[in-house]
């Protein structure tokens, strides 16, 4: 039965089902996703913190659930997690604020 909410925690468990309507693209996505999070030049731990920060800037409840748990599993502390979220929030607010330069440019151009 369809949920009465746009977001349902149970839907995260069904993420894998997206392959049902497009097997090839779905499988390619999950393969890519898995590869991205492997140990590489960045550790899997560092990647988990980046994912957590991005989950917040994207405001994705599924991703926040997933990467809060992933962080705990990796022994990442609450302090580290919160700092990562602040990094995301700082970039997000900075991204808004830096557009203020655009506003200033426009105003300066228009004003006598």
């Amino acid at each position: 039965m369809a949920s009465q909410n746009y977001y349902d925690p149970a839907d995260l468990k069904k993420f894998g089902n997206i392959t049902q309507w497009s097997k090839e693209l779905g499988e390619k996505f999950f393969e890519y996703y898995g590869k991205v999070f492997e140990e590489g030049a960045l550790s899997a731990r560092e990647k988990s913190l980046i994912a957590l920060a991005v989950a917040h800037t994207e405001m994705c409840p599924y991703c926040i659930d997933a990467y809060s748990k992933d962080g705990l599993q990796r022994g990442i502390t609450k302090e580290e997690m919160m700092e990562a979220v602040h990094v995301g929030a700082a970039i997000k607010s900075g991204a808004s604020l830096v557009h203020g330069v655009m506003m200033m440019n426009k105003v300066n151009k228009l004003e006598m």
């Binding site: 468990k13 550790s43 899997a44 731990r45 599993q73 990796r74 022994g75």
Partner: protein
């Protein structure tokens, strides 16, 4: 609040909690999501890879639980151990165990509890057992016992004298996470105990005195990669406290006893069971510890593992007690399973020796 705090200092048995009873735990693990077909039962799951029924391989580890008494009341404890538990192995049962230790084909003897050191016959038992010359003699020490009372202060020297391999619990390298799971003040006492073990040579690089730590998650999530966790633990404990140890065993919390009670009370039970089933790894079944271990309880009964012991599931063999012990007959048995077994087969697997699969 005070009432809540007091509750945390008592075992489920003392509190007359529903989940102190083995049959209530087994009932919970067989009903709900496992009865309505949402999740496969453990037997259904291992049937898919032709691993049912589970049978023992060669016996390698004798694990003896010398009693459920403990100086701590950890939130996740699968034994439901604590100061209020009075079940303690008698000298008579220990004598029967010594006969087994002398004649076993197992290469590892593993003493556990509770806090095994609290058994009044512990030292005598270790002295006698060490004469059998078993290859690897493990004592699972909760660390704080070493600092709990003057009479335990010399334990590091005692362990050293008998070449005991010390395996100790340490849920995290930070005070907050450790104390939340194991009780207030546990972190500082554990650090002190580790430093004292280091001082007599335990855990030092190239030392033959083995000191391994056990990590288990402080909540409703699974342990991460054992090798990465070990790296993080080593770095933090050395930098912050100058502590050395050899290996870290990452152990999954079993959904039984106090941890089951916690999962249900915190409304994490179903999600946790989903996580365990999703992380099921058939390769871990191949090396699961019940296939190379016999667990002996304080009163001398035999079990496939310490978890089955707590669920009162005795071995499915005509031999069920140390008084009639026969390794060949015992090894020809089917291992008793239920849904808690998913705890040992998630991810890289989990055993008292940590991960079991590559």
């Amino acid at each position: 609040m005070l009432k809540e705090k007091k509750k945390k200092q008592q075992s489920l048995h003392k509190r007359d909690s529903e989940y102190a009873l083995a049959n209530k735990q087994l009932e919970k693990l067989s009903n709900g999501i496992f009865a309505n077909g949402e999740l496969p039962t453990f037997s259904e799951k291992i049937k898919q890879t032709d691993q049912f029924p589970l049978r023992p391989n060669k016996l390698e580890i004798l694990q003896i639980n010398v009693g459920y008494m403990c100086n701590q009341v950890c939130e996740h404890c699968h034994v439901d151990a604590g100061p209020d538990r009075k079940e303690i192995m008698t000298r008579e049962t220990m004598l029967q165990c010594l006969e087994i230790i002398k004649n076993t084909g197992a290469h590892t003897l593993d003493l556990t509890g509770g806090a095994p050191e609290m058994n009044p016959n512990f030292r005598w038992f270790v002295e006698e057992a060490s004469k059998a010359g078993i290859q690897d003699f493990i004592v699972r020490s909760n660390l704080t016992i070493i600092r709990a009372n003057k009479k335990y202060y010399d334990l590091p020297e005692f362990f050293k004298k008998h070449n005991v391999h010390v395996v100790s619990s340490m849920p995290h390298w930070t005070r907050g996470k450790t104390d939340k799971q194991r009780g207030e003040g546990v972190f500082d006492l554990s650090i002190k105990a580790l430093q004292e073990l280091n001082a007599v040579g335990y855990g030092m690089p190239d030392s033959t005195l083995r000191l391994d730590l056990v990590y288990n998650p402080s909540g409703a999530f699974l342990p991460g990669d054992q090798a990465s966790m070990e790296k993080d633990f080593k770095k933090a404990l050395l930098e912050d406290f100058g502590i050395h140890f050899h290996n870290l065993f990452a152990i999954t919390n079993m959904p039984i006893s106090r941890f089951l009670d916690y999962l249900i009370a915190s409304e994490n039970y179903e999600d946790y069971m989903y996580s365990l089933v999703e992380a099921y790894n058939p390769a871990a079944v191949k090396n699961v510890m019940c296939r190379n271990t016999i667990s002996i309880s304080w009163d001398g009964y035999l079990y496939d593992c310490d978890f089955n012991q707590m669920l009162e599931l005795k071995v499915a063999s005509k031999i069920q007690h140390v008084s009639e012990y026969n390794e060949d007959v015992l090894n020809d048995r089917k291992i008793i399973i239920s849904q808690h077994c998913y705890g040992c087969t998630a991810g890289a697997g989990s055993s008292c020796q940590g991960a079991v699969a590559e």
